[in-house]
Subunit: 250 residues, 2 copies
């Protein structure tokens, strides 16, 4: 497959758990200019990545917003004056309708917009990201094409092209339920580890994989996704109905 | 390890999904005499197993009760007159307090009693049972010792010796929650399979492993276990609390 990858450098805004994962995987391919107000002076960055000013990061031809959804509008307003025509701006949030609306509202017409949701995190990507899934949503322009080509060819990701609404509907179940169950199980205190079944062991593995996700990720998945609350309500009603049936067996 | 395995034949009462799994794994080691009123004439049994009368199965020196907990009292009353002194009677239910009480109440003093709970089923044992876990509870006599030795030496199982109460407390969480979650997810209709995360895939694997368990198994796990209802109540309260918090983020 031949693909023209037109990006020459990446501006990474945000260096939390996921920003670090991005830098580790992108810096071997392209210079990665990182800005995060919380980044300590002299922090160690991966080879190929360097700390920089806000303005310089925003001047790259691919700009990645790696911050909680709740901080995205402010970030967009702040970078808008620094973005050059033809720049591609990408977010990596766990929800896609809200970031799409925010980027469209606050970023100038002369930049292309793509929503992405890497369907993995620091825990599930511990053994690498090749073959992992990423959802991408075209938002403004055809710039999702070079982004998708880069993700496939350079990172080996499985790219799923979708719309923000279709994404959020599926994620409400996929992530909304997984995180809800994991958070509840985590709060049940020390769970059995000796007399376990294979299926319970899988449930614990799933829980362990997501229970350490930062509050911003949980907020995106459960609160910023408009379809998450109805899915949680359906799950609760089913659990309550089953509980009643089990309490009064025939 | 030297162990004197004193059993010469096994009487297997019940030939449902789990009875079949038992016969497949025990018949290579000891003659296995199977009785199930629902067993069709001319049904195919594993090599080493043969269909027999109720009385003959009950005359073996190891008798296994492989029926739903709700049918166990009637079965015990029926086999009692046929049991020979020194026979060991074992159940394989997913709950242990109720079968222990039933066997103690209905089986003569001259037989030894052991409760067992193989922590695997037809789905999770598809690739074999070596290394899988089994809980065993001494109930009457020291006869759990030759049973445990047999399970370890001949079947390669990991034997966990415990009490019926300790077992049921742990199983209320391990199986009670796993099956509750699996049943609820199964009722949510077709779940996403494309835009999935690694943790959701694990949750689906766990669900697939237990969702086809027969109603008798579900009844034992959720209704016959006295600790299951409080565990379900705690889980429901946690889910409801999380849902309220997610619905009103700060």
């Amino acid at each position: 497959m031949s693909c023209h990858l037109t990006f020459s450098s990446i501006g990474l805004l945000g260096f939390g758990a996921f920003g670090r994962l991005i830098a580790a995987h992108l810096a071997p391919h392209l210079p990665c200019l990182v800005h995060d107000p919380a980044l300590p002076q002299g922090a160690t960055l991966p080879t190929g990545a360097s700390a920089t000013s806000f303005a310089e990061a925003a001047s790259c031809d691919l700009v990645i917003l790696a911050m909680p959804v709740t901080e995205m509008a402010a970030a967009c307003r702040a970078i808008a004056p620094h973005l050059r025509p033809g720049t591609v701006v990408v977010d990596v949030g766990s929800v896609k309708l809200a970031p799409a609306a925010i980027m469209q509202a606050h970023l100038p017409e002369h930049v292309g917009l793509v929503g992405t949701h890497p369907l993995f995190g620091p825990q599930s990507a511990r053994d690498g990201i090749v073959g992992r899934k990423i959802a991408i949503c075209p938002i403004r322009g055809k710039v999702h094409l070079p982004v998708a080509a880069f993700l496939r060819a350079r990172l080996g990701l499985q790219v799923i092209v979708t719309t923000p609404e279709a994404h959020d509907r599926e994620a409400a179940t996929v992530q909304g339920l997984t995180h809800l169950i994991a958070q509840a199980l985590t709060r049940m205190g020390p769970l059995p580890s000796r007399m376990t079944t294979a299926s319970f062991d899988l449930l614990m593995q799933a829980t362990e994989m997501v229970r350490h996700d930062p509050p911003g990720v949980l907020a995106a998945i459960e609160s910023a996704n408009p379809f998450a609350a109805p899915v949680r309500a359906e799950f609760q009603a089913l659990i309550a109905g089953l509980d009643r049936a089990y309490a009064r067996p025939d």
